[in-house]
């Protein structure tokens, strides 16, 4: 559950792997201390700084401030219209659900939807061009300049998040939340967190937020169900949800495996060198054996040569 689970071989990841000492220290020094200072706690040293978002659904009033703030800060079109679904121009929106609770009362719950920023993300594993990129610090970011528009990231995402600009003929992009990554590096909070008036959104290190979430559940078991969505789903995500009603009733994808699907393909991909070596050896061996028997006299001389000699 730490940054080291990042499977990306970016230059940065490579550095981290090679020079654990100095490179890691250097990497840590580059982090915006300001953003973390409010949340940093002693024990998260060993886990590395994985930025996360904790969304407490019991506190969300559906005011849509987060969605509008997102539009404004990312300079997306229709910034004053409350979005009602993810699309090419919307990174996040708030979904309304009527839920019948166990005691028979019907309540309204609001769910902010956006990219879950999976720790071992399917979209990152899928992308043939490294346009979907695990920043190694929590956010999964998109780099349009590399993108082919193949849309495998869309097909692969277990949460159905990435959106494509279907109306754009030549320069369509994939859209999804990027956790305001640029701002984070300068020490700012994500726009939605900044805008939330009720404290339903909290930002910090994943370990801390998980600890807080579990503490909240433990101290108030009547209020919360005992499940932090995103803790284990598809190997863990950097967006975590707390709720008082079962997640299935709020339109969350249920029955996700606890391991990242990317690990299965990774296993397959790691067998490729063996397959290449094996097949090459097998084929070359067979060819060698079969070619030892005298070949049938073949018409090796191209026709043209024959003609020329006749001249």
């Amino acid at each position: 559950m730490s940054a080291s689970k990042n499977t990306q071989i970016s230059r940065r990841g490579f550095l981290k792997r090679v020079g654990t000492g100095t490179a890691a220290a250097f990497g840590l020094a580059m982090l915006p201390q300001q953003a973390l200072s409010g949340y940093a706690s002693g024990d998260s040293e060993s886990h590395g700084p994985t930025w996360s978002l904790l969304i407490d659904l019991t506190r969300c009033t559906g005011c849509d401030s987060c969605a509008l703030a997102c539009k404004a800060s990312n300079e997306l079109p229709d910034a004053d219209v409350v979005p009602s679904a993810l699309d090419a121009d919307t990174y996040t929106f708030v979904e309304e659900h009527q839920v019948t609770k166990a005691d028979g009362t019907t309540v309204t719950r609001y769910v902010k939807r956006q990219c879950m920023h999976c720790l071992d993300a399917s979209c990152v594993s899928a992308c043939p061009a490294a346009a979907m990129h695990n920043s190694g610090e929590g956010p999964v970011i998109y780099r349009a300049d590399r993108c082919l528009g193949c849309r495998y990231c869309q097909v692969a995402c277990p949460f159905e998040i990435p959106r494509f600009d279907w109306d754009n003929g030549l320069t369509p992009k994939i859209s999804k939340c990027w956790m305001c990554f640029e701002g984070l590096q300068e020490g700012q909070l994500p726009a939605c967190v900044e805008a939330c008036p009720t404290g339903a959104l909290r930002f910090g290190r994943r370990d801390d937020l998980l600890a807080q979430a579990h503490a909240q559940i433990a101290s108030n078991p009547a209020r919360y169900i005992d499940h932090v969505y995103g803790e284990n789903e598809v190997g863990g995500t950097s967006v975590l949800y707390l709720s008082d009603v079962p997640f299935e009733q709020l339109g969350f994808v249920a029955n996700l495996p606890d391991t990242a699907p990317a690990q299965e393909t990774e296993k397959i991909m790691s067998k490729l060198p063996t397959v290449i070596a094996g097949m090459t050896a097998l084929m070359a061996g067979s060819a060698f054996i079969t070619h030892r028997k005298p070949a049938e006299p073949e018409d090796i001389v191209p026709e043209a040569l024959v003609v020329k000699e006749e001249e």
Binding site: D165, D167, L170, M283, S286, A287, L305
Partner: protein, 440 residues
């Protein structure tokens, strides 16, 4: 709907009607003039072109060509629209269903159907079953055209096709699609090199007599290193034929358990071998009809036998996999998926096994052809559709059926492939002597 109001659409439609009409009128006039003054017209034509027919083309000749041109004109027009107005203007794709007909058929099936090239090349050049030699060139040509069409299909489907080269430079060894892309690119090059001798043979035939072109040397060089390319071809094919299956391993929650398996790559590879053999039978039979040449029936019968063996193993492995994963009860539920599953396995795997393992049956032309077509259409094409489209519907809901424009583009690409095959077969020494002699 706004598309209907767009002038571009009407322009495209007008063009796709105008071009064939002009063609028909023009062809007729030209032919009539040639009837009048045959020698003056033909003397200026290069020698290697067959003597033009000196009679007015029949109505049927004109109609088939006219229709084909209409189709291709419309298809190219739609491709134009797609790059102006975006994928939504011509396809039924959506964020919920981002891969449609073009990926399922043009790419997934295209690659599978081109598998004959590596199967036959390995049979002849690696396992040295040299009696199959006459089948190598047509198989390589089919493979090459198949891959060129896959690439063409991808260019149309990719949102930003001009970035298609990037995977070759930013290595993403964890991405299955990256591997598929790199393999397809490399393998298309290998196929080009494997096909080059055929072209060179033709070139040598004319040119080397008068000038010493390096083509003869090149031919000899290619001959020497050809085995290396054959081996490369087999390895690359193994990699990406199976990786097309691995693509779906990433979606455990989306693909129906009838098809989702960690062994998808293995299944894809095995069925590619079967379809490689079957496609060779189909394409030999069809081209023997089209070019009036003898059919290498004895060879095809042996291929059928091999295909039956491969299919039998494939069937066994898939059955075991279904039982082990506990997904078999789904086969008996009244769903579209179950029906499609049975069509795939029953018609495309079991029936051909039966047809091909009974000797008197498989020795009959009709049965041979039927069995091969079943493998191609139901066994493999339907399988690719099941994995990539029909098997996803329970998860996504019934939200995608291809639009007519997607269908036209696919048909256009296939037609272009068939035309290219016909032209190559006519002007290049693709088929073995018997026919080549006859045409001289």
């Amino acid at each position: 709907m706004e598309l209907l109001a767009s002038p571009a659409l009407w322009l495209v439609l007008a063009l796709s009607v105008a071009i064939p009409v002009l063609f028909i009128v023009g062809a007729r006039r030209l032919a009539l003039r040639m009837v009048d003054r045959p020698t003056a017209m033909t003397a200026s034509l290069p020698k290697f072109l067959p003597a033009p027919r000196l009679r007015a083309p029949s109505l049927r000749w004109l109609l088939t060509r006219g229709l084909l041109l209409t189709l291709i004109g419309t298809g190219l027009g739609i491709i134009m629209l797609r790059f102006v107005y975006g994928l939504s203007a011509v396809t039924n794709l959506s964020d919920q269903f981002a891969w449609g007909l073009w990926i399922s058929f043009d790419v997934m099936c295209g690659v599978a159907l081109a598998a004959g090239a590596f199967v036959i090349a390995a049979t002849v050049h690696i396992f040295r079953l040299e009696r199959f030699e006459p089948l190598v060139r047509p198989a390589i040509l089919t493979g090459l055209l198949g891959y060129l069409l896959v690439v063409a299909g991808l260019i149309v489907d990719l949102g930003r096709p001009y970035n298609v080269w990037r995977p070759l430079f930013h290595w993403q060894h964890h991405s299955v699609l990256w591997e598929v892309g790199v393999c397809v690119a490399t393998y298309t090059t290998v196929l080009l090199i494997e096909f080059l001798p055929v072209v060179l043979e033709k070139v040598n035939h004319f040119e080397a007599v008068t000038t010493r072109l390096p083509t003869v040397k090149l031919t000899q060089l290619l001959k020497k290193v050809s085995i290396a390319f054959v081996i490369m071809g087999v390895v690359l094919s193994t990699l990406h034929q199976s990786s097309l299956g691995s693509l779906w391993v990433l979606m455990p929650t989306k693909v129906s358990p009838l098809w989702y398996s960690l062994y998808l790559p293995v299944f894809f590879w095995m069925s590619a071998i079967a379809v490689g053999l079957a496609m060779t039978i189909v394409e030999s039979t069809l081209s023997s009809k089209a070019f009036n040449r003898g059919l290498e029936t004895h060879l095809l019968v042996d291929l059928a036998k091999a295909a039956a063996v491969v299919l039998a193993i494939y069937l066994a492995v898939r059955a075991i996999d279904l039982v082990v994963r506990g997904a078999w009860p789904l086969m008996f539920e009244p769903t579209l998926q179950a029906a499609s599953f049975w069509a795939e396995i029953g018609l495309g795997v079991m029936l051909p096994i039966v047809l091909f393992s009974i000797r008197p049956l498989r020795q009959r032309h009709g049965v041979l052809f039927l069995g091969a077509v079943l493998i191609v259409v139901f066994g493999v094409v339907l399988n690719r559709f099941n994995v990539s489209l029909i098997g996803l519907l329970p998860y996504t809901g019934q939200i995608y059926t291809p639009s007519w424009m997607e269908l036209v583009v696919t048909m256009t690409l296939v037609s272009l492939g068939v035309i290219a095959f016909g032209l190559a077969a006519k002007y290049l020494p693709v088929f073995h002597e018997e026919e080549h002699e006859a045409s001289r």
